[in-house]
Structures are given as C-alpha cells and as structure tokens.
C-alpha cells in the first residue's frame, strides 16, 4: 500500500476501523465463496444483492411489521410500568428497602427459563412476545428511576422546603426534573432488554413473525436469505438503540 495511504490511516483511527471492517468482510467473502459449503454460509456480496428478494418473500414485510409492533408496545408498557413502580419504590425509603431486594432478585434470575411458560400462558401470537419483552425491559427502568429519585442531594429538598414548596411542588419541580436523566438512561437499557425479550420469544416460536422465517430459512439451508433477514433485524436494533441513546444524551445535558 502506498506510503501516503498508510500515513492517513495511521493518523485516523476511524479510517483504520473502516479498514478492519473491510478486511473482515473480505475474509468472509473469500471464505463463503471458496472455502465453505454454500449450504452453510453465504458471501456478503450475495447477501446484499438478495436483500430485495428477502423483502419480497411473501410474509416477510408483514413479519417485520409485526415485530416492530411488538417492540413498540413492549417498550411503551415497560416505560409505563418502570416509571410508576420506580417512582413508588424510590420515593419512600421504606418501600425501597422492602421491595428493592425482591426486584433485584427477580432481575437476576434467568428469565429465559420461563419462556415456554409465557408461550403457554399468552399463546403463540404477539401477546407472548410483548409480555416477554416487558419483563426484560421494565427492570432497568424501575431501577434507574428509583435511583434517580433516591439520590437527590438533600440540600435541594431542604432549599425547596425553605422557600415554601408544597409536597406536590417538590415532586413536580425538584424530584421529577432530577430523575429525568436517569429515566432516559433506564429507557436506553430498557430498549436493549425489550429487544432481547421480543427477539428471544420470536426465535422460540412464531407463526407469522420473523421467528417463523428464521426457522424457515434455517431448515431450507438458505444462508443467503437468513443472513439477509438477520442483517435487516440487526440494522433495526441498531437504529432503535441509537434513537434512545440520542435521547439520553439530549436529556442528560445538565448533568456534569
């Protein structure tokens, strides 16, 4: 490689990173074309060109829509539950001391063991995916909201009280704004949880969602379409994560 190019790369890590990614893609391409049986691996070039075909496969766009729907609803419910429970638990020392250990315990158990149970209870349709997404997404929000409410500097509360603020005013003008950055951090973590929960449930059993198609493509030994579908889902996950991350940065501006 010419010296000038090497120098540019040496000065910019971003460029080097791009180079690493390109190199990995090249290895993948070579391996898929000449080394590995095409039943098991498809080269990225073919994956990209077949994306259209994937989206054209009957039922795939609808499946993607259903998945997005499941994610949205699960996220909304997680946020609602997380906010309410987090506030209740965080505001009163007694409720926090009583319920936080229980919440932490629930959060720490491998929820994936009860995935079959969720399907039995909620059926194989979107309801079970949403429910499973909620159980994964709500805990980070509960914990960050409770923490945000609870770690407010006492001097701020004393100051508000000294100015004659009522309890409602303190809640609205002091506790709530203080908790907002933590809430957005919780939402970012909650989105990761919701993605995990919904996707896990989809991959487990699905009749019309993307899980159906991943199973189909796997059983038909169609790595091209499988990789295509996974790429689309990965892109979607990245987009959703990025949105919540941006929101978090925007709303945490007054922190440090």
């Amino acid at each position: 490689m010419p010296a000038a190019v090497m120098q540019r790369i040496a000065r910019s890590p971003g460029l080097a990173r791009l180079g690493v990614i390109v190199m990995l893609l090249a290895i993948w391409e070579a391996a898929a074309r000449w080394v590995v049986d095409p039943l098991f691996l498809a080269p990225p070039s073919r994956v990209v060109t077949s994306l259209g075909a994937v989206l054209g496969t009957r039922g795939v766009p609808a499946a993607l829509q259903i998945t997005v729907f499941e994610l949205a609803v699960a996220f909304a419910i997680s946020v609602a539950i997380g906010l309410v429970v987090g506030l209740v638990v965080g505001l009163h020392n007694f409720s926090r001391r009583s319920f936080m250990p229980i919440i932490l315990l629930l959060y720490g158990t491998p929820q994936v063991t009860i995935l079959p149970l969720f399907i039995l209870y909620f059926g194989i349709g979107p309801a079970s995916k949403i429910a499973f997404g909620v159980t994964h997404g709500m805990f980070p929000i509960i914990m960050t909201v409770a923490a945000g409410v609870q770690n407010i500097k006492p001097i701020l509360l004393v100051s508000a009280r000294s100015m004659g603020a009522s309890s409602v005013q303190i809640l609205r003008h002091v506790i709530f704004p203080h908790m907002i950055p933590s809430f957005f951090t919780g939402m970012r973590l909650g989105m990761t949880g919701v993605l995990l929960g919904v996707l896990l449930a989809e991959l487990y059993v699905s009749t019309a969602g993307i899980g159906y198609f991943t199973t189909l493509f796997t059983q038909n030994f169609d790595p091209t379409k499988l990789l295509g579908l996974i790429s689309i889902l990965a892109a979607m996950a990245i987009a959703l994560n990025e949105i919540v991350r941006r929101l978090e940065v925007r709303f945490a501006r007054w922190r440090d």
Partner: protein, 275 residues
Amino acid sequence: MRDIAVRVKNVSHRFGEEDEARNVRALLDTSLDIARGELLCLIGPSGCGKSTLLNVIGGLLAPTAGAVDVLGKPVQGPMPRDIAFVFQENALFPWNTVIENVDLGMRFQGVARAEREERARRSLEAVGLKDFAHHYPAQLSGGMRQRAALARALSLQTDILLMDEPFGALDEQTRMILGEDLSVLLASTRKTIVFVTHSLGEAVFLADRVAVFSARPGTIKRVIAVEEPHPRKPDFVTSQKFTALRNELYALLHDEIRKTVSAESAPPATPGALS
C-alpha cells in the same frame, strides 16, 4: 428600643435519644434578640451549633427545648414569606438556568406570574448577574453560583435573610469581593440578616453584632458590637478598630477551638515518648 425581629428563647437542641450512644447536644439554652435591620453574625468552632440555631430560627428544625419568635409570631415550620435562606453548598437546581432558579423560588412562595419576571430581573441585576440569566449553574464559577443563590433569596422579598456560611466554599479573594458587594447591597435594603461564618475577618467586616459561640454543647459566650455604619468601605479592614475587634474575637474563640479539636483527637504525645 429597636424593633425585635427574631427572639430566640432558651433554645436547646439534642440529636438522638438521651440513652443512645450517638446522641449529641448541639445547643444548650441559647437566648438571643435580633433587632430589625441588623446584621448579626454567628461565629464559633465546628460543631458548636451555629448552623443548628440557624435552622431552628428558620423553622427547618424543631428544637428539643425552647422556642423562637419571628416578627412576633412563633416559629412552627418554614416561613417562606418572612424568611429566606442562602446555603453554603450549591442549592441551585442544576437542571434550571439561573433565571429559572430564581423564578422557581418565587413560584414556591406563591408569587403571581406577572410579578415574577420583574422581580427576577431586578434581583439578578442587583447581584451583577444580569448577563448570565440563561446560564446553567454548572457553567458558572462558585462565586457566581452563590450570587445566583443570593438573587433567588432576594427575589423572595422577605424581611429576614438567613445565610449559612454562604461563602464557605469560595477562595479568599472571591470572599472578599462578595463580602464588599453584600455590604453595599444590604445597606440599601432594611433586611434583618443572620449570617453564620467561620471567618473572623468576615464577621467583623459584615456584622453589626457578632455572637460568639462556645464549644459543643454550644451556647452564646459573648456578643460583641461593631459600631460602624453600612456600607462598609474596603479600608475598614485595615483600620485599628477592625484589628482590635478581630483580636478580641480571636481571643474569645481560641480556647473554644482548642477545646473542640482536643475533644476530637488524642492529646499530643509527651516529648519523652519518642526517644
């Protein structure tokens, strides 16, 4: 006889229960009359109860014995229309700008919206922060933050101002400037101010009277009068009168400070122990 703004009647305060190991007698039978329009400093060693007394006067703390009357009324809780606080630490709400902080204080007090804007503008101008109204506290220096806290307190237009070591976290030079500005500012208002400080010079410079506390359990040892009109000029600090008063305070405090420090640590080893 001047109007009495704050009457402290035999206030004692103890933290914790009597039989507990952790109980602390912060204040012991303290009485004090503070005249309307005067600036009274409370000074004393650490833990002597001066901040406790301030919180009792302001209604943030109910004393275990005794009572306080403010403007003729007994204190039973915060009195936001009569008393405003300026604390040492940053008590500004970090998610609000300076002017939003000032506005919020008035909202808590119950001031109508129409009046709030005008009052906020005036109080920010009075402390010299007119150009920083839309800055966040994190963007300001310590001195400016305390000016903002003062502006918030001033906008509440209370008769009484309680200041708990407001300049305690600032460096010497900023303290000097803020002290001078405070003196100028308060000469034009007729507020009654109770000001807690550690600094002897600050007390003499600002106060009409200085109440000197003993070591814990705190009680007022002596009240010294500083007869010098406000606003105080910077050259007051170098005058003989200033030095004499400062020395008097030092003499009163020195023993109390020693008592406090030795109560907290072991006595120094005798010279023979080292050999």
